[in-house]
Symmetry: C2
Subunit: 489 residues, 2 copies
Amino acid sequence: MTNTAEQKPAAAPRRLDPEDAQHALAAVQECLRRQMLVESLVHRQEQGDAKATLVEDLVHRQHEAELKALVDDLHPADIAFILESLPKEERQTVWNLVSAEHDADVLLEVEDWVRESLIEAMDRQDLVAATGNMDADELADLAPDLPPDVVAEVQKGLTEEERAQLLEAMGYPEDSVGAIMDFEMVRVREDVTLEVVLRYLRRLHELPDHTDQIFVVDRQDKLQGVLPISVLLVSEPDSEVHSVMNTDFLALNPLDSDADAAGAFERYDLVSAPVVDDQSRLIGRVTIADVVDVMREDSQEQALSRAGLQEEDIFAPMVKALRNRAPWLLFNICTAATASFVASQFEDTVSHIVVLAFLMSIVAGIGGNSGNQTMTMIIRALAMGRITPRNLWQLVKREMMVTLMVGLCGSLMAALFAWIISRSIWVAIVMMAAMICNMLVGAGIGVLVPMLRSRFGKDPAIGSSVLLTFATDSLGFFIFLGLATVFLL
Amino acid sequence: MTNTAEQKPAAAPRRLDPEDAQHALAAVQECLRRQMLVESLVHRQEQGDAKATLVEDLVHRQHEAELKALVDDLHPADIAFILESLPKEERQTVWNLVSAEHDADVLLEVEDWVRESLIEAMDRQDLVAATGNMDADELADLAPDLPPDVVAEVQKGLTEEERAQLLEAMGYPEDSVGAIMDFEMVRVREDVTLEVVLRYLRRLHELPDHTDQIFVVDRQDKLQGVLPISVLLVSEPDSEVHSVMNTDFLALNPLDSDADAAGAFERYDLVSAPVVDDQSRLIGRVTIADVVDVMREDSQEQALSRAGLQEEDIFAPMVKALRNRAPWLLFNICTAATASFVASQFEDTVSHIVVLAFLMSIVAGIGGNSGNQTMTMIIRALAMGRITPRNLWQLVKREMMVTLMVGLCGSLMAALFAWIISRSIWVAIVMMAAMICNMLVGAGIGVLVPMLRSRFGKDPAIGSSVLLTFATDSLGFFIFLGLATVFLL
């Protein structure tokens, strides 16, 4: 978004559309497709003569120019989106056309699983050029993916202070505030007037992105307060900073979790927040842009982990995809086999009353579904911080009661079905009893497992659902076939 | 966050902590618990005499004062969080203690399912007082929950313009940009100098929240460009607006979906964006605070809907909870019964080889798990806008190949298990074949269902997983028992 107004003050504003990126992706794909079509056409003629090569070359160059024009016109974030959405080969074609000045921004915007392949395709010189002008915190994000000699080369170009910042940023654990903070802050002293602050800002020529507040520090760099830009703009220029600054503000610690920080940004509607160390010295800043990324990543991770997946390039090579998916499925086969082994202990019962074989999967399945509802509620309440030791017991009682009530209705339906296919009132009664029991088992597991996992500092969501299914399957079979063995044989 | 610095310029800054809300919740709960303890103690003595009543009254008042002090000190967002986390009775106790000046903010912050009960507890006068000073867009959010006579009363106090805004805001569909936009904008003309703009801002005394840019409009209110505050601050005061404004900016349409808008905010790191009508007249503004709420709500809705739930008050009355959960479970019982009915058609086969009864649930379950992985990938790619007609076929081929490979490994394990419990090489072979087939069924459904749902404009996530389980269960039973009938009998 550059300033193009100077030459044409009456020009109509160019409206960016929220769906720009998708349209651009379609255009790039169309361009790539045409290029491939022509190439394959020329190849198919299989004439070794110079003319065909010439034509091919010409057409190729024309398409390349067209593609380049398309890509050059895009925001780096949109280029990143397109690169992520293309198969590897086409991705490289497009990446080679991105002009060098955008390299750095695109590298910072793309998701981790694409960045690797982009960096591989760049030579050392391009990499040094692209990363040479990055801020310390940006460099820290990229450093793990860069060849060590490039990092060393770029470090040489940093000031003492930047090098210290780089080291600091790389030292914080992954999901901490320290890992997402940047170092671009405007600091002022509290005893100057706003007039002076305004002059100082004008001399900076450019403010850091998302500067909605200026940090007021003392000589030791201790944070004394914050001066919102909106206050700066509406206050009298001869007021002193300390008379208009806020001393009630949210300050983060670099070791706070990024999810907690995101919660605070959401609750207090923040755009930026200072990060201070234990001596309340200002060491960095977190902006809403970082927080939005954290929120998006967390919700994606959650959705994926529920299916036992990690972030995957939709065009990743087969081997990678296998490594991503197989462990979860193999694990599920083991738990399913265990449950089926439990059931097989009742072979006698089932061979006497075959219809039990068809009913037992209903008991197991509905127990799992019902437990999943309870678990979803509990995981959500845990994530929001709503569960305290004091209301836990109330919650458990409530979940059990709700499950019992739903179980009564549901098991009546299931019993009716059991009676229809077995014509035995006793099978129906066993079905009903087993189903209610197994739903209560599901509710119990649905409360217990996330609570225990969160008590021991693990993410309550991941893995809980496997345990739940395992329990409701095995116990569902056991309860149903057990009751049948006792009462029906 | 008020300015308290004027009197005590050297005061240590009060550090807000991201976990403040949780701590406050625990404190409020503790206070409520002590109050209840004392009350029940006094009650238990069952002395009708005046002294006991007096003591009770005193203690009660003391606790109330303590609670009030606690609550008054909190940010409205934290009060909202606490109200959401308490059972209904305690919620009302705390709500009655919230000072009237915070009523409006808290009402706007709490989730829909709590707001209703809070409004019920307020009398007409309090409601009019609380909503009287709201902006048109805030009032529009609340209006559906308010008694009609209160809305009518408050409308009388609005200006002509505000009333028009209220009507406009209430007219937009729920998930549109129009429903989240506000009307607090600073507008300037392009032919004035920055000096004039700065003077104009100072006269406003207060800027709207999240003002990171000023909108440049012409006489017809058509948006000509945007003037970022950071540009305003660093440019020479005698420059004219049109020479420094951006004409490349994102403008939203009120009918754009709020999720698309959120995507754009995320991609372009925006803090606010103008909303214009089809004649590019400026009609409103969306801020990052609204967008963050949209993102959080969407991810919550997704997590809940996957378990067949809607947003539920964790202390909702039993009847409400039943209405929320029963339909999904009853529906699942129907699909499970159908699958089991399919299986029961093979009663003969199963009664001959009972071990099939224990193996068939593995085939069904793993097909579901594997299909769920594919479906999760596809839903995610759809949500990101990565799927275009051109790469759809590549994706389908890839998913099928990955599934086939995982299926080969997995089915070997399953076949081994089948051989162990049946000691029949033929049962093992049937198991292997059925499992691979059913996993391919799962992958097919996992691609098709979300694609079709999204093609017909429905949310691809909701309902897809029921259909998937239904298909992999029924077809899993059918394929496995069918193969067994053909090859084993």
